[in-house]
Symmetry: C2
Subunit: 480 residues, 2 copies
């Protein structure tokens, strides 16, 4: 059987191509091809899956992981919603692409006008593009979606209608290749009494109720009744989102595109609890990433490469064979395609990730730049004189109320004081201190390590044109 | 002679209407009417005019002041370019309209999507709208200009071409009423060796050269040779802008619209020297405002009402008889029309101005809110733990280099340390301390005064929906 699209990269996929050289009559389904992309983005889903030892029930995610590749060391490059999505959709760090903080309402951050987004680039190459659900990136025009279906609405968590809208749209595209993003509002907090949209039934969703005793206390939280109850509600929202995923993937199969669509599942930032979301520490940026690529040789693989959300756009461009426009101001994109390493458990050369945070809400300024390797994490806090703010939804949470009402309560091993007041530099030895609480930046024994990480971070900031780095902005430059 | 447009407000103008009841044959020019608007915005022009005792030569501004009304106590509501222009063009404080800092390049601040600008409102009512020169407000679409002529370019200070483009455009409008904004780049610093674009001749401009001995040292600067030389270059740029104004006003007269066009001249923020521009102290926000209204009874008046740039949009709406759309989210506009007080030297009820600063460049965060009355100025610095930044163009200036190279040099009466490190609250008694250097916020004798100003400021922040005030942003609100 002739492979008539484009070359498969990588030994594993080439092997598959050989495997597929059988008489046409023996195979009923079309060969796996590179063609469509289904990018699924959940909202505030931490590394909480059934198949990774969590107590939350996520059968659809577990199944997807069995059919594809689960990355155990994947990271967002920022733990704030709009900034993270902007990075997903541009392949640029948030301090490069203009989305320095939240885009909605009075926060009003937006992409720089000359940024070319992933959907825009795919559209230029003939792809149909659509978004189902949450956008939270501005301006809409730069995203170039043909359709925006079921836009996010407060208190609405109708995952079924999202899946069906996605299915309808996919079928409507006929022979046209498509790039579809499905962005759930779950499991983000909501303004109802459960704090997670759990105060009613949702169509086609069997409610998964959890008891406080059912939850796992993450490393960044204390074991308090209020925290347990809060996590239990969060688990229900995760399970609801998982049900939505099952509906969506069923629609994909029914559309006939299961064998020619790259499926990527990930979350925008860490779980919506103190010490995770809105922080560049491990629990803020370490997130689920599952990739199911038709034709991939390895299924059910656990891939330990340190992959970043900066790599998602290059991956999708690689899959579709689309390239950014000539002379595009922001080339080279800083990330890399992960397709070549899909079949490897321990790919070489994937051992560090960078992250960059500037704002969450407009009045929540705490710029930090970080580098995480296998052994160390290093944080440069640009304004250490400031107090670290708490995202409003987290500040209003039952967990935060419980913590602040309990004298001596800590965020796991981190005191509240240490959380709010950080040094200009933080250095952690992850082999002995995975919770990132013992700051070695002042320890002479680590001076060489610190200097090296500091230099690497500085070099990365220059390469990625960090406006917070001296000399990057020109007071007499051409107004853009 | 029947006045067939709209009612003139105010006793002075009514008197004029009576005065105009003469046989048509005795008058050759058409009666003054409310119709067109010419808004002239200079860039970084401090309160430096010949007719107010300055040594800089500004014959056109002086003539305009003789023909109209010069406000001696007029203030911007912020001393940063894009924020100030955004306020001029919306009638909203910058913490309300979204323009929290500079709009260009990586700074990337913009108006909120649901803000209706002055040109947009006028256009809805049938006005032709155009901008000549500098915009520095985003997004362009919200400004709704029919034409943008001679956009600002680095190192270009061709004031003549701006004036002629304005004249051409005005004549092209025929019978259509027009709203024209002419925004000079002068006297903003430029990236040439003179730092003010003075290294070449400009068409139709006789170069006014100044010697360091020719200048007046403003209250916020030390008397150093480097500062004098820098001010001399600034004066030349001011004079060049003044020549441009003469050309522009001549074009207005030649167009036949001198008698039906409200002319407003003002500057966006304070002079581009340390301690002025980018500060809410007096020298940062106290700026020239000259208004020439056809039909005004008093000419050459000095008006001491404390007027704010927040009043400019209401004034122009009043002049044109245009009202904001029904149900406009940001009503009521916080400012007032100054047309009713044009003929008064000491209008009652105009004795305070508010100001609000959040950012200049994206990495220059220093949020301050202020209230200035006749007697006091009060400043609330929201993040006093931060060091006060210096705008990049000012930091690169010969003045700043001279100051920082001279041990013990001060910004007038203010030490560099006091400039960079401010208290959470500042209170100054302007009757004895117009330089705003003796902070009385900790002085028990002023406790009642402080409490009163603090309360007024807080109330104003609530009314104007300051996102930096607690409780203003809603984490579960509808995404805009």
């Amino acid at each position: 059987m002739k492979i008539n699209r484009r070359e498969f990269l990588g030994a594993g996929l080439a092997a598959l191509a050989v495997e597929m050289s059988v008489p046409a009559a023996a195979k009923v389904s079309p060969p796996p091809r590179r063609r469509n992309v289904l990018l699924i983005v959940s909202d505030d889903h931490g590394y909480d899956l059934g198949c990774t030892g969590g107590k939350v029930r996520t059968p659809a995610l577990d199944a997807l992981a069995r059919e594809g590749v689960l990355f155990t060391d994947a990271y967002a490059s920022v733990s704030s919603c709009s900034s993270s999505r902007a990075t997903l959709y541009t392949g640029l760090y948030s301090h490069t692409n203009g989305m320095y903080g939240l885009s909605h309402d009075v926060h009003n951050f937006s992409l720089l006008d000359d940024v070319k987004t992933l959907p825009w680039m795919l559209k230029q190459s003939g792809y149909a593009t659509a978004l189902v659900g949450k956008l939270h990136v501005k301006p809409e025009a730069l995203l170039a979606y043909d359709a925006w279906l079921e836009p996010e609405r407060p208190l609405v968590r109708d995952v079924a209608v999202m899946g069906h809208a996605a299915g309808r749209w996919m079928r409507e595209q006929g022979d046209k290749p498509f790039f579809l993003t499905v962005a759930y509002s779950d499991p983000h907090r909501a303004g109802d009494v459960s704090n997670f949209g759990n105060t009613r039934d949702w169509p086609e969703v069997k409610r998964e109720r959890y008891q406080p005793s059912d939850v796992v206390i993450p490393s960044h939280l204390p074991d308090l009744p209020g925290v347990r109850a809060d996590l239990a509600e969060y688990y229900e929202a995760v399970s609801r989102m998982d049900t939505g995923l099952a509906i969506l993937l069923h629609e994909l199969r029914e559309s006939g595109h299961e064998d020619d669509t790259l499926v990527i599942y990930l979350s925008d930032n860490g779980r919506p609890f103190p010490g995770a979301k809105d922080n560049l520490y491990y629990e803020g940026i370490h997130l689920p990433l599952i990739v199911r690529a038709p034709g991939a040789l390895k299924r059910g693989l656990r891939n330990r490469g340190m992959v970043s959300w900066i790599d998602i756009t290059p991956t999708i461009l690689d899959w579709t064979g689309v390239t950014p426009p000539n002379g595009y101001h922001y080339l080279p994109l800083p990330g890399r395609s992960i397709l070549p390493i899909l079949g490897e458990a321990d790919p070489k050369g994937w051992d560090e990730v960078f992250a960059t945070h500037s704002f969450h809400e407009i009045d929540q300024y705490y710029p930090t730049r970080s580098l995480r390797t296998r052994k160390y994490s290093y944080f440069l806090n640009l304004k250490p004189e400031l107090e670290v703010p708490i995202a409003s939804d987290v500040a209003l949470s039952p967990s935060w109320k419980a913590i602040t009402a309990t004298p001596g309560a800590k965020l796991g091993k981190r005191t509240l004081d240490a959380f709010h007041h950080r040094s200009a530099e933080e250095l952690y030895d992850l082999t002995v201190d995975p919770d990132e609480v013992v700051n070695l930046a002042g320890d002479k024994k680590y001076a060489a390590v610190l200097a090296d990480l500091r230099r690497q971070l500085d070099s990365w900031r220059t390469k990625t044109r960090d406006p917070w780095q001296k000399g990057v902005t020109d007071p007499f430059g051409r107004a853009r």
